[in-house]
């Protein structure tokens, strides 16, 4: 289990983390989403022991992360800008990783060689960005981590390889109970792999739920009101409205049943509840936090 409790991190007085709190259940895949500058990468750097928090606690498996070598041996991470030594080949880096991670599996390394199909004698810097990312997955998954922390992990990967690495990650989760925390802006993909989601903004975790809870907690209604009702009634608690012809689309933070009951009071001609995508949830949740798509005509 990964627990972040009231984490604070200041950079020259600016709070990159401002009391962030989240909880990642063991064996789950947790998607951390948020706008640029929300503090996701900063939080991840705390979880991997790179940064030390100014306040609060960062714990994995009940232990503090900071300077905990034994714990960090069970945590592997792929940062958004993975580092390798300039002269190193894949095999050189493998030896380097193997020297640090006691659970590093050569057997898995050899198996993954077939998956990624990259010549391990090639210098990494001569590989394309996507191939370098594959190498990062190759080495990280070979470490057999109990906790896998990924920051924009599939950036630069082609669609096939994206599916491939997600498949590998999910099989680790299924077979070994690996706990995964992944930060990404690709909400469509997160929706497919995450069972829990946390939304960050301004250094705080605004909300965290299981994906099902999140989707149950917000609904999109398509409504056609009777003649004479041109606008959405003001007393309806909507997060966002839009209109195409006579069809109003309402986003409401409640269950579909509750929303339909409230709209029913206005005798609509048509009511249809549509589940929200993670992307829509992200947009409308943050819309309440002053972060919305603005209708600007340039």
């Amino acid at each position: 289990m990964i627990e972040v409790n009231g984490a604070v991190k200041l950079f020259d007085g600016f709070a990159a983390l401002d009391g962030a709190t989240l909880s990642v259940p063991a064996g789950s895949v947790y998607g951390l989403v948020g706008p640029n500058g929300a503090g996701k990468s900063t939080l991840i750097r705390h979880l991997t022991g790179i940064y030390r928090q100014d306040g609060g606690s960062i714990r994995i498996g009940g232990e503090n992360v900071w300077e905990n070598a034994a714990l960090k041996a069970r945590v592997a991470a792929i940062p958004d800008d993975w580092y390798y030594f300039l002269q190193s080949t894949v095999r050189d880096m493998m030896r380097f990783y193997r020297g640090f991670y006691p659970a590093f599996s050569m057997e898995r390394y050899e198996k993954l060689k077939e998956v990624f199909a990259i010549d391990e004698k090639r210098t990494i810097r001569r590989l394309s960005k996507g191939m370098q990312k594959q190498v990062a997955f190759w080495l990280t998954l070979s470490c057999m981590p109990d906790y896998l922390i990924l920051d924009e992990p599939v950036d630069g990967l082609d669609p096939v390889m994206r599916r491939q690495v997600w498949s590998l990650v999910m099989s680790d989760v299924a077979q070994r109970g690996t706990t995964v925390l992944v930060s990404s802006h690709n909400l469509r993909e997160l929706e497919d792999v995450c069972d829990h989601v946390g939304i960050m903004d301004h250094g705080k975790v605004l909300l965290e739920r299981s994906l099902a809870q999140l989707q149950d907690n917000m609904v999109k209604l398509q409504v056609v009101f009777p003649d004479g009702v041109a606008e959405v009634p003001a007393d309806l608690p909507v997060l966002h409205t839009s209109r195409v012809g006579r069809i109003h689309t309402l986003i409401m933070r409640m269950s579909a049943e509750e929303a339909e009951a409230k709209v029913a009071a206005y005798s609509p001609l048509l009511v249809d509840a549509v589940p929200l995508t993670l992307e829509e949830i992200f947009i409308y949740e943050l819309g309440g936090a002053d972060y919305a798509v603005k209708d600007i005509v340039l």
């Binding site: 300077e67 070598a69 640090f100």
Partner: protein, 700 residues
């Protein structure tokens, strides 16, 4: 769970191996240079062409030992200074980018383990290199039959000790920055900052404090400037063996100093570890990575810029217009220059810290504080708040006093006699009391073309250097006087002149070129002497040519005894402050040689004297040293003869030059012929030394 490759908790074998393979070009370069400097150089010394020109095995051993030990001390110092920094930069280079520091710090290693593994990599490399070099050198020496384990050990100690210190110091500096290029800059700056600041403060004080001449480099500044200290203290020594005609017993002095720096290196390594643990990974890319050090950097750079470049600006511009002026307006100008450059330094540092040029508004408080510090320092030093200007040491705290009094000529001496020192202390106090008058006179005569120096007045100096048992107090006073004051016993110049003629000072001045050798030593070990004399004088001010007349020990003793009687009678140093005093000094210097403890004639003392040394002059004439052909000529006489012609003692005019030339009697070496023109008749006269005249010429 423990990392499986850890030998023990604080070391990681994987990282060590990676360091060794990753930076191999640097290690190879270091090893290659030491291989050239130690075993290869030894091989060339022992088997090369120069080895054929030695007379004995002892001489070869001398060369071998000297080469080895100097390599360990002097060359080893610069190797340590350079490679200590390069090693630190390479091994801790991961701290300087966010990506690399992110990777290294996310690995399951504690910071101590990372730090120590990296630090020990450097130690392993330089120790291995030095051990291998020592063994190769031993092999070379053994092949030549000159294996000397003791000197090899000394070489290893010197090279390794210096490397340990400078490497650890460079690592310590590297911990304070997140930029690769800032690391060597900090390293160089911290190596020199104490010396530069001390020199700057002394220089500033010297500009505005009357008589202040600095005090040398204080001991604590030397210790804080390791390159200076090791360069001056860690030295090779040897003894000369006359029988073998080579140096023997080669040794290294200053090993205690080296030991202290090696211990300091360990302390710096521990300090670096502490700083490393405090350091935050997110500071990669920052000029200064430790929060409290950022303030130090801001104000430190500002202050250093003010003290160094500020003074430089002042001296560059204002010194042209206010030369030798020490008034308040000049101090104000100097402080303004320092404040200006101090602000440049402060804002420059601020820009580096903030990585932005827009720092003027946000940094104004710091700028004001910097300016206030510089003004306070400038005013404090310039107005002598601490009383440096008026300080005259107590006689009890003076170990010895070195004086230099001069004008047209000078006397330098080191005295320990309490009574004489007290006289100088009184003179020192009088010089301080006469500050206003001296400044007024300097100002009056500075641009007074109507009264050029040497006509009615002159300007001499009195330099005083007190050895206060470890510390040094230096003062230098100018002494502007009119010649009439020499007749007044209480005038400053008369008091200075009296001390210049003081027998104790004059006797000490005889031996001023030699440490730890007294007049008594000279008298006891005197072996011979000689007198310089003028042999030819070229006309039209083109100078003169001289020769020497040697005399043996018994004669030298008589001359020296006469000279000492003159000195004891107070006849020495009288011409120093006189009008054209240099003209009254004989061109004929006396030189006395004496034997060292090994009975070898190695040392000599050269002495100038004047016609007032009556006993000496009489002795020289009586003993046939000064003759007509070896005349005693003052510098004024030589000058006059050269410039205007006239009487030339010891040289005779032979004939009209034109006639001699026509008759082919001008000596082949025309340049050595004295020709001058009679100012009354315009006739050119050929003159040759009496001794060199042929019988025919003598008859002519």
């Amino acid at each position: 769970m423990q990392s499986k490759t850890s030998c023990f908790k604080c070391l990681n074998g994987t990282l060590l191996r990676k360091n060794l393979t990753r930076f191999w070009p640097l290690w190879v370069l270091y090893a290659a240079i030491w291989t050239l400097a130690a075993p290869v150089y030894q091989f060339l010394t022992l088997f090369g062409v120069t080895a054929r020109y030695v007379d004995s095995a002892a001489q070869l051993a001398d060369r071998s030992a000297a080469a080895l030990l100097e390599t360990g001390t002097e060359f080893g110092l610069w190797m340590a200074v350079l490679f200590g920094c390069l090693f630190a930069m390479a091994l801790y280079s991961y701290l300087y980018t966010a990506r690399s520091v992110g990777m290294m710090h996310s690995f399951p290693l504690r910071r101590e383990c990372l730090f120590l593994t990296n630090f020990l990599t450097g130690c392993v490399v330089f120790l291995t290199t030095l051990v291998v070099s020592a063994l190769l050198t031993a092999a070379v020496q053994a092949a030549a039959g000159m294996l000397d384990w003791r000197n090899l050990g000394l070489w290893f100690l010197c090279a390794a000790g210096q490397m340990l210190f400078f490497y650890a110091f460079a690592v310590f500096c590297a911990m304070f920055t997140g930029q690769m290029l800032a690391a060597p800059a900090f390293y160089v700056a911290w190596n020199a900052v104490a010396y530069v600041l001390d020199a700057s403060v002394q220089s500033f004080a010297g500009l505005f404090l009357y008589g202040y001449e600095g005090g040398g480099t204080p001991g604590w500044v030397q210790w804080l400037t390791p390159i200076y200290q090791l360069e001056s203290r860690l030295r090779t020594t040897s003894e000369w063996n006359e029988a073998l005609r080579c140096r023997v017993n080669h040794d290294v002095e200053g090993l205690g100093t080296l030991g202290i720096y090696a211990l300091a290196g360990v302390a710096f390594a521990v300090g670096a570890l502490v700083v490393y643990k405090l350091r935050r990974s997110e500071t990669a890319g920052d000029t200064v990575s430790i929060r409290w050090a950022r303030q130090l950097f801001r104000f430190g750079v500002g202050l250093c810029a003010a003290m160094t470049f500020g003074q430089w600006l002042y001296q560059l511009i204002w010194d042209q217009f206010f030369y030798a002026d020490t008034g308040l307006h000049v101090l104000t100008l100097a402080i303004l220059c320092m404040v200006a450059l101090g602000l440049v330094g402060f804002y420059g540092a601020e820009m580096l810290l903030c990585k932005s040029f827009r720092v003027f508004r946000s940094g104004w408080k710091g700028a004001v504080l910097t300016a206030a510090i510089v003004v306070a320092l400038g005013v404090g030093v310039g107005l002598d708040v601490t009383g440096v200007e008026t300080r005259v040491p107590e006689i009890g705290e003076i170990k010895e006093l070195s004086v230099r009094i001069g004008c047209s000529n000078s006397v330098s001496a080191t005295v320990t006699d309490r009574e004489t020192i007290q006289k100088f202390l009184d003179l020192h106090q009088a010089l301080i009391d006469g500050k206003d008058e001296e400044l007024r006179r300097k100002d009056y005569y500075r641009f007074n073309d109507a009264e050029p120096a040497g006509e009615t007045h002159d300007s001499g100096w009195v330099d005083l250097t007190y050895d206060l048992d470890g510390n040094t107090l230096r003062r230098s006073y100018s002494l502007t006087y009119v010649y009439e004051e020499l007749e007044k016993p209480d005038s400053l110049v008369s008091r200075a002149a009296a001390l210049a003629s003081d027998p104790t000072v004059q006797r000490a001045g005889l031996m001023s070129d030699w440490d730890d050798v007294t007049v008594q030593d000279l008298e006891e070990h005197l072996s011979s002497g000689q007198m310089d004399y003028v042999q030819r004088i070229y006309s039209n001010g083109e100078g003169w040519e001289g020769s020497t007349y040697p005399f043996e020990e018994s004669v030298a003793r008589e001359v020296l005894a006469a000279l000492l009687r003159d000195i004891d009678a107070g006849r020495g140093g009288r011409t120093i402050f006189r009008k054209a005093g240099w003209n009254q000094v004989y061109q004929n210097d006396l030189l006395f040689r004496y034997r060292g403890e090994d009975n070898e004639e190695r040392f000599s003392v050269q002495i100038s004297f004047t016609p007032e040394y009556t006993e000496t002059v009489a002795a020289l004439k009586r003993l046939g040293i000064a003759t007509e052909s070896r005349p005693l000529l003052t510098q004024g006489e030589v000058h006059e003869i050269s410039e205007t012609g006239g009487q030339l003692p010891g040289l005779e005019a032979t004939e009209n030059y034109s006639a001699a030339a026509e008759a082919g009697r001008v000596p082949p070496d025309v340049s050595g012929t004295v020709v001058y023109e009679n100012p009354d008749t315009g006739e050119q006269v050929l003159m040759v030394p009496t001794e060199e005249r042929t019988p025919q010429e003598a008859n002519t």
